[in-house]
């Protein structure tokens, strides 16, 4: 399957899947962080210049901390989430799925100096594209991954039953193999994220299974999926 999933086997003998984050959300998150950093430096800088030479010393130290330790601080103390990453629902983890620690975070952030070579993070981008799990050079050295935090769209609905499931259930008219059954279940899970036209288009592929067209085709597919799930 064309998919960006990363499986970790846990000591409990079960695979957890993570979804690594591609370049675009990471670039956007980085941009947000960058703007935030500049804003903080600008505001504090305006105040600190009133303190004269002492203030200039503080600004230098602040600049140093912001440049190298801003991401490290958030990654270690906020569960791998910088403010920018938070906005995009992504976080940094060790590649065994555990929260990132001091060493790994420091390695990946110091090696940024190489990732941004020759300019504008070209090296990091090339590395992300070539690596199957979108790791830049710093991630490769540190053994870290940037993954999606939670998938809100796929959260379990209340067990009482969603509106779709109240529509009723229907028995599968013919025997379907596992993949076929899965495809039906996935359609039922995700149909709300599709436009009605697209739903009907997809349902039309199976019109000889449902024997119905258009809206009714979609409805009976949902009923069949409900039947597969065991709804009454």
């Amino acid at each position: 399957m064309l998919d960006t999933r990363y499986a970790i086997e846990t000591p409990e003998g079960i695979d957890i899947t993570l979804r690594p984050v591609g370049p675009l959300p990471r670039i956007l998150a980085y941009t947000v962080d960058l703007l935030l950093r500049w804003a903080v430096l600008l505001v504090l800088g305006l105040f600190l210049t009133y303190l004269g030479a002492f203030g200039i010393g503080i600004i230098s130290i602040l600049y140093f901390l912001m440049e190298w330790f801003y991401p490290v601080f958030f990654e270690v103390y906020r569960g791998g989430v910088t403010p920018g990453k938070k906005g995009f629902g992504i976080r940094v983890v060790h590649d065994d799925g555990t929260p990132v620690g001091w060493s790994a975070s420091l390695i990946r952030n110091l090696l940024r100096a190489v990732d941004l070579l020759p300019f504008a993070y070209i090296a990091g981008l090339v590395s992300m594209v070539l690596d199957g799990n979108f790791r830049r050079l710093g991630d490769l050295a540190a053994g870290t991954l940037v993954v999606y935090q939670h998938d809100a769209a796929l959260r379990l609905e209340s067990v009482a039953g969603s509106a779709a499931e109240k529509a009723g259930a229907r028995v599968l008219p013919i025997a379907l193999d596992r993949d076929g059954q899965r495809a039906l279940l996935n359609f039922a899970d995700r149909h709300e994220t599709l436009s009605p036209q697209r739903q009907e288009e997809l349902a039309a592929i199976l019109d000889n299974l449902t024997g119905e067209q258009g809206k009714h085709g979609v409805a009976s597919l949902l009923k069949i999926a409900n039947g597969l799930k065991g709804a009454q």
């Binding site: 970790i8 846990t10 000591p11 409990e12 079960i14 957890i16 899947t17 993570l18 030479a53 002492f54 200039i56 010393g57 503080i58 600004i59 230098s60 130290i61 600049y63 140093f64 190298w68 569960g79 989430v81 976080r91 983890v93 065994d96 799925g97 555990t98 929260p99 620690g101 060493s103 420091l106 390695i107 110091l110 090696l111 100096a113 190489v114 070579l117 050079l137 490769l140 050295a141 540190a142 053994g143 935090q149 939670h150 998938d151 809100a152 796929l154 379990l156 609905e157 067990v159 499931e165 899965r182 279940l185 996935n186 039922a188 899970d189 597969l228 799930k229 065991g230 709804a231 009454q232």
Partner: protein, 341 residues
């Protein structure tokens, strides 16, 4: 068992587990519950609640395994997967006592890490010192050579920095205060240290380049200062923080070379795995470099630049610091010899 029945039977257990997760780790709670209330609940967690966590987590692993095996829908397996993942992160997180870790590192870990990688550090020292000495010797013999390393404006600056008549040594503008310079040294020097380390990722070439460059600059500059007879101020200035600063530069070069070597000669590992191992051990040295450059910046700003301290005292203190640094790396963190039984 059909999916619906499975959900109805166990959903309460899943919800309870999710609620427990939210309390255990308020910072990543997905619901919009106030961070503070979650944290307050966290502090009121009873021992039995915490003790029940591993068991609840393993139960959840079972649910996920069953859901996958029985081909339940993605929505259910993804939900269980995200709960298991959060549980995994909670159960297997590495918590360390930062304070005792730092003390242990300073007392033993740092010198041990440097000794373990002494070959890289030695190469780094050679690349930094030898070309510098060569250029120093040449510039002493042919003073005009300094003009091929620096441009005349820079040379003017250097001369004014180490002019014995200056109120503060080592500063282009006499008006800069000690603290402003402290900030400047932190930002500038530690940045250079980090760059030398990171440059190692380019198969070591970046580290070698920065070491060579800094060595040559330092060699040519000190020779020129001798040529114009400012050596008294220059060397009494440099000796104080040099022990920490120059050693730290060499060590960050060593850490960088370790990365480069891991890529060039990965041995029995893949390049990626070899790099990862090297980075894990090299970062130990980088922690130490950070600490040393902080100390160096402090000495440079508040002690070395002072004109109130007599030069002889600076030499004595500076020499003492060199002995201290070298003794630290040679002697600290060695295992005590056990008496033969």
């Amino acid at each position: 068992m059909k999916q619906r029945a499975f959900e109805q039977r166990y959903a309460q257990d899943w919800q309870a587990f999710e609620a427990l997760l939210d309390v255990l780790d308020p910072s990543v709670a997905p619901n919009r519950e106030n961070f503070r209330t979650a944290r307050r609940k966290n502090q009121r967690l009873s021992t039995s609640q915490v003790a029940s966590f591993p068991e609840a987590y393993r139960r959840l692993c079972h649910y996920l395994a069953l859901a996958r095996e029985r081909q339940y829908s993605n929505r259910l397996t993804d939900h269980l997967n995200s709960l298991v993942l959060r549980g995994h992160q909670q159960l297997y997180q590495r918590k360390s006592d930062l304070r005792s870790a730092i003390i242990g590192f300073v007392v033993a870990g740092f010198p041990q890490a440097v000794r373990a990688q002494w070959k890289f550090c030695a190469v780094s020292a050679a690349v930094f010192v030898l070309p510098g000495l060569l250029l120093m010797g040449l510039t002493l013999m042919f003073p005009e050579l300094v003009f091929s390393v620096f441009d005349p404006k820079q040379i003017n600056e250097f001369e004014s920095m180490y002019d014995p008549a200056a109120r503060h040594i080592g500063r282009v503008r006499d008006a800069d205060t000690d603290f402003a310079m402290f900030g400047h040294y932190i930002r500038n020097n530690i940045g250079i240290g980090f760059q030398i380390f990171a440059g190692g990722l380019l198969f070591g070439i970046g580290s070698l380049f920065f070491l060579l460059y800094n060595g040559i600059v330092f060699g040519a500059l000190s020779a020129h200062i001798i040529n114009v007879n400012f050596q008294e101020t220059f060397f009494s200035f440099v000796i104080g923080h040099g022990s920490f600063e120059l050693t730290a530069i060499v060590l960050s070069g060593g850490a960088g070379l370790q990365l480069g070597y891991a890529l060039i000669a990965p041995g029995r590992f893949t390049r990626r795995e070899s790099l990862r191992r090297a980075a894990g051990s090299a970062i130990q040295i980088v922690y130490g470099v950070l600490l040393m450059l902080l100390i160096a910046a402090f000495i440079e700003a508040f002690w070395s630049s002072s004109t109130l301290v007599p030069t002889t005292l600076k030499y004595w203190v500076g020499g003492g610091l060199w002995l201290l640094v070298l003794g630290y790396f040679v002697g600290m963190g060695r295992e005590k010899k056990h008496d033969a039984v």
